[in-house]
Symmetry: C2
Subunit: 133 residues, 2 copies
Amino acid sequence: MTTMRAAERREQERREYNAYLSECPGHQLLATLSDKWVTLVLNALADGPRRFSELSRTIPGASQKMLSQTVRKLERDGLISRTVTPSVPVRVDYELTALGESLLPVQRAIKTWAEAHIEEVHKARTEYDDRAC
Amino acid sequence: MTTMRAAERREQERREYNAYLSECPGHQLLATLSDKWVTLVLNALADGPRRFSELSRTIPGASQKMLSQTVRKLERDGLISRTVTPSVPVRVDYELTALGESLLPVQRAIKTWAEAHIEEVHKARTEYDDRAC
DNA sequence: CCGAATCCATTCGGATACTG
DNA sequence: CAGTATCCGAATGGATTCGG
């Protein structure tokens, strides 16, 4: 049963490691930042508050399901605020919080690197693909 | 059939938008950076070259399938280099390229923000959850 | 030792329809 | 207008097995 126990131990290690990762601040942030729609919503709100339908039009690629989920997640994390005006029909505005705004420079850093180096990446890719085929 | 055509147009818009996004450098970078294993491999290689099996031990959470996929992707993007030593058994070393190293400051920026603000995020979450229940 | 290929469970995301 | 609930296909990722 030695092999069996070895397998169990590896699985155990994997679990512990994943648990550790899920507590790591850096990965928690990446988990949210990496979400395709999060980035877009954050950018859409960078210029000022937006209503739900405005967001929907600004980001045509997002289904309204994804949009709902995204804004809820961001609100939960304190990155955006949600304001309901109980008129008829209802009006809901989303706005970046101070915490959310502090995230914009990080996004810009990513964007800056991307624009500066994407050419190299593309070049590397075509070279890699050419070699393969 | 007006509603039908409207639905088609929305779908068309969605397609175009997603196509546009997939060309956006920022999102291409995020797509790779956001990958859980990419971050870990990049960090594991930050200190110097590592063999495949060393990476595997450094990152117990990764199955060897994920590890393979990740290093291949990173090699294709020109972020790491792969060196095969045809001894018996074979020895394969991975190492950050200059391009890969230039990405480390970006990762650090993310990490820095995360460590500085994760507390606020956690606080926001518990408050949000308390309000809900 | 390194890695590709297969199988399978879980998750994600879109379309649709319905509530306040 | 602003969501929520459900169904279902597609993609993800782990375990296992085989090959170089």
